[in-house]
């Protein structure tokens, strides 16, 4: 029984997989494979499962640190995953501060060609700690990073657009391989980057790599409104998600863009059981695997005190929390983590468990039907265009989502029953071309 006809608005679903799952205790669960990070066969199998379930894309969140686990480098990983998939998008996170626009444009153009038009770039600026790996005196400030990032993205887009259609002539008679008139220098001269171009690769079947953006701070939102086609964000409550949705969609007109040129998909970590009790049991089990002392050390970075010095079942010392402005890095996440504690009067243990479960993203524990209800409600409340699904435990929880939640969403007419095409852009329903700002 379907409440919607087949042409109605459909959910965008991105699978955020990799390693053993999003719950901090997942690697100790008997069903998980803690060596999965380096195992390309594991990544391929997961992407294939997501493709069978008709997800729009798989997504890799990247970073330069090692404490989150030894893992493959995303460009090599996604290129290898492209071998055994044919429709699903491949979204990689790359920071602007410690990369170069020409290299990045080229990596994505190459991945995009290799995958037949399935690449997506999640634009982040970069983490503070990275400065120590890249011969830099220090990490630029939040404002400077975003200013440079705007320029960086502009260069990349111009490089992707530097080949006109049909530039590859291959005229054997006249000996003309590439028509030089259809491959254009961009001659970009900005404050941060000077790039002549053109890129050394033509566009892929999707035209250009899809641009994703994940910052939710003020300059992050502005960068997104100007350039992003898909936005990842952390929103803990429906009213907050509605406000973010209204705010960001409202900014698009300023850049000559329509509301359908950008889709918003917050992270969502559903914990699923056949029954509610089963789901709760798994949640408790996963929480029991977390090294409490160590996790509290980590969480204490958000406070001026160490939470290990406080009773774990006592109230969170919110008066000792740092303000969001103290965070130059991932500013928007501070409020996302602490707001539920403020709102719901959490104990330290509750805050810790919430942080373990979705590292700041909204979590929901329940049956497949309850999870589908949750998604349905947010999707139909002007709050989201879909979700980045972050299974707390892999592969078990993702399989439940695929087998139980996806069919329910399809029955309700909320999700596709077949891919619309073979490129990421086509499946997301995005236009074929990128909005290009005029060069500075």
């Amino acid at each position: 029984m379907s409440r919607h006809n087949s042409t109605s608005r459909k959910l965008k679903l991105i699978a955020f997989l990799g390693w053993t799952g999003h719950h901090a205790g997942s690697w100790r669960h008997p069903s998980s494979n803690p060596n999965a990070g380096l195992d390309i066969d594991h990544h391929i199998a997961e992407a294939q499962e997501a493709e069978r379930a008709l997800f729009d894309a798989v997504f890799i969140a990247d970073g330069d640190g090692w404490k989150s686990g030894t893992k493959l480098e995303p460009f090599t990983q996604l290129s290898a995953v492209a071998v055994h998939t044919s429709h699903i998008g491949l979204i990689n996170t790359v920071g602007t501060v410690y990369n170069d626009p020409y290299s990045l444009a080229r990596y994505f153009a190459s991945l995009d060609l290799i995958s037949g038009g399935r690449a997506g770039w999640n634009v982040v600026t970069g983490a503070h700690s990275a400065a120590e790996q890249f011969t830099r005196g220090g990490h630029p400030s939040h404002a400077d990073r975003y200013e440079a990032a705007n320029e960086f993205v502009e260069v990349v887009k111009q490089l992707w657009a530097s080949w006109d259609e049909g530039a590859f002539v291959a005229d054997k008679q006249r000996g003309i391989l590439i028509d030089p008139a259809r491959v254009n220098e961009i001659n970009f001269r900005g404050r941060h980057y000077q790039v002549r171009g053109p890129l050394d690769l033509p566009p892929s079947p999707q035209g250009h790599t899809v641009i994703v953006q994940a910052g939710s701070s003020e300059p992050g939102k502005e960068l997104a409104a100007r350039t992003a086609e898909l936005v990842f964000t952390a929103q803990q409550t429906l009213p907050a998600a509605q406000e973010f949705y209204r705010d960001l969609k409202g900014r698009l007109a300023r850049y000559g863009r329509s509301r359908d040129d950008l889709f918003i998909t917050p992270g969502f970590a559903p914990l699923i059981g056949e029954t509610e009790a089963e789901a709760r049991d798994l949640e408790h089990e996963l929480n029991s695997y977390v090294d409490t002392r160590r996790a509290l050390d980590l969480l204490s970075e958000r406070f001026t005190v160490n939470l290990n010095d406080y009773p774990i079942d006592g109230p969170v010392p919110l008066d000792k929390a740092k303000s969001a402005d103290d965070f130059d890095n991932v500013k928007s996440r501070q409020d996302v983590v602490l707001d539920p504690a403020r709102r719901e009067g959490f104990t330290i243990r509750q805050l810790l468990y919430r942080a373990n479960g979705g590292h700041g993203h909204v979590t929901h524990t329940g049956t497949p039907l309850q999870i589908a209800d949750f998604i349905d409600k947010w999707f139909n409340s002007n709050a989201v265009d879909g979700f980045v699904i972050e299974p707390p435990l892999l592969p078990q929880q993702f399989r439940l989502f695929v087998d139980k939640v996806i069919p329910e969403l399809q029955n309700r007419g909320l999700f596709r029953t077949a891919y619309e095409g073979t490129t990421l852009r086509r499946n997301l329903g995005l236009r074929g071309t990128l909005p290009l700002a005029k060069a500075a």
């Binding site: 090692w66 030894t70 480098e73 090599t76 290129s79 291959a170």
Partner: protein, 485 residues
């Protein structure tokens, strides 16, 4: 393992390059130049190479330049999944890549391919600067200083995770043995990198290091770091001189003979008969643009050749010399020597240049090519070749179908891919008969030397830029485990 008991064997790579190494390859019937960026086409070439039991495929690159081919890491990671045995060598420039990114991508490719990754180290790249915010490209000799420190950083990063650092004990809740994961805290003249890498130790310990410079400084650099050299050598006497020169330098860096494989480029047009090969070559040559070639030649040597007869032996008056150019000096010298030695006309020089851009070139039958290869191999001019088929895939197929069996009959080339007794495939490093790398840092150095050797590295091995390292506690002797022969 059996490979140490068989007589010395040839090594072959397929040098991926557009749709053929002859400049006119794309002009002939049946060649599809647009497929230079088609991954399925690259898969075909990799599979033919694997059918031929080659050691590796080699992806060239010119970052920021006009090359117009797939980026090597994305290309080779894809091919890694499509192949099982063959090595995957990526060209990556030290000028435009952070050592951390590069160490990470190579380690990742090594994990994905289960120990088949290699890195062709390139230091030049001035032509790319216009696309990299006019990044300064250091002059020739300083580039090698930078590259020296670069290698120091990259090898330290690969060593930053010891074997056995990943524990993943679910019951005890221990993921890593953090005493086996090391910050490198490198602070040098050109790079400051804390480490550790975020990829654990690559299966080969260290991806195979390849280098291709042929200048004096380049040869020293190769003798210090490289495990294979791709070089352009016109003819056997020059090649032998180069071979002896480079091998003689190994001792200076405390490296044993045989630890560096010399693989000259070899470009070829094959036919089932010599006549058929000549016919194919003539057709290719007929597409050459001699006017453009003459103009290039004039520019390169600062001599006006616009009125010079095309078929008269070329004599250059006061040509610009190699030491007056900054990029690829060795290639410049090669052309000068060729003109002088063989008294070529502009037309013949153009034909020669079109066939492999200054590498050794060959037109003829499979048996004749096998003869040439055998001669270079047994006379100490090469350990194998970086194969440059004139036209893809035809010349590669002909090589695999006719030259390989001939060399196998002569006992010069493997008849199957070697495997371990447990059935796992061997690594590229093992296939090339190379040793496990010596760990570069103090936290590993104690285990890097065999019995009877000094524990402190000889001075030639330490570059002046080695960082002020914090001494590390001794680690268990698990680092040098990929050495199996």
């Amino acid at each position: 393992m059996s490979i140490s008991h068989t007589p010395r064997q040839l090594h072959f790579n397929t040098f991926l390059y557009l749709t053929g190494h002859h400049d006119s390859a794309w002009r002939i019937e049946g060649n599809h130049p647009e497929r230079r960026i088609d991954i399925d086409y690259m898969v075909d070439i990799a599979r033919i190479s694997e059918r031929g039991l080659f050691d590796a495929i080699f992806a060239a690159d010119i970052e920021g330049g006009p090359s117009k081919w797939l980026e090597p890491f994305t290309l080779l990671a894809y091919l890694a999944v499509k192949t099982r045995h063959i090595g995957l060598i990526a060209t990556v420039n030290t000028t435009y890549n952070e050592p951390f990114h590069l160490a990470r991508r190579l380690a990742s490719l090594d994990h994905i391919s289960k120990g088949r990754a290699g890195w062709n180290i390139v230091t030049s790249g001035a032509e790319g600067a216009v696309n990299y915010s006019n990044k300064r490209v250091a002059p020739h000799d300083e580039r090698y200083d930078i590259a020296d420190e670069y290698l120091d950083v990259v090898t330290q990063l690969w060593d930053s995770w010891e074997e056995g650092a990943v524990i993943n004990d679910k019951a005890a809740g221990i993921r890593y043995d953090e005493s086996k994961i090391h910050e490198i805290n490198h602070t040098g003249k050109y790079y400051t990198v804390r480490g550790p890498l975020n990829v654990s130790r690559p299966p080969q310990g260290r991806p195979v290091l390849v280098q291709s410079g042929s200048s004096d400084r380049g040869k020293d650099y190769a003798a210090k770091w490289a495990e294979a050299i791709f070089t352009a050598q016109h003819e056997i006497n020059e090649a032998r001189e180069f071979y002896n020169d480079v091998n003689a330098r190994l001792d200076k860096f405390d490296r044993p003979p045989g630890s560096l494989k010399i693989l000259p480029g070899l470009c070829f047009i094959l036919g089932r008969t010599e006549a058929e090969a000549n016919e194919r070559h003539e057709e290719l040559a007929s597409h050459l643009d001699l006017a453009a070639f003459t103009a290039n030649l004039s520019r390169r040597f600062s001599v006006d050749l616009s009125d010079y007869p095309l078929d008269k032996p070329l004599v250059l008056e006061n040509p610009k010399q190699a030491d007056q150019v900054d990029q690829v000096r060795s290639r410049h010298q090669l052309v000068l020597d060729l003109i002088r030695r063989e008294k070529l006309s502009i037309r013949r020089l153009a034909e020669r240049h079109a066939l492999g851009r200054g590498h050794a070139s060959f037109v003829g039958s499979a048996t004749q090519l096998a003869d040439l290869i055998e001669e270079w191999f047994v006379k100490g001019a090469a350990d194998g070749f970086n194969l440059m088929p004139g036209v893809f895939p035809q010349d590669l197929q002909l090589f695999v179908d006719y030259v390989v069996p001939e060399l196998q009959r002569r006992g010069l080339f493997r008849t199957s891919y070697e495997a371990r007794s447990d059935g796992r495939n061997i690594t590229l490093r093992e296939r090339l008969g190379l040793r496990a790398p010596k760990p570069v840092r103090s936290f590993a150095r104690a285990h890097a030397h065999g019995p009877g050797q000094s524990a402190s590295a000889p001075s030639a091995l330490s570059s002046p830029s080695i960082s002020s390292s914090v001494p590390r506690e001794a680690a268990p002797s698990v680092l040098a485990t990929t050495h199996t022969t």
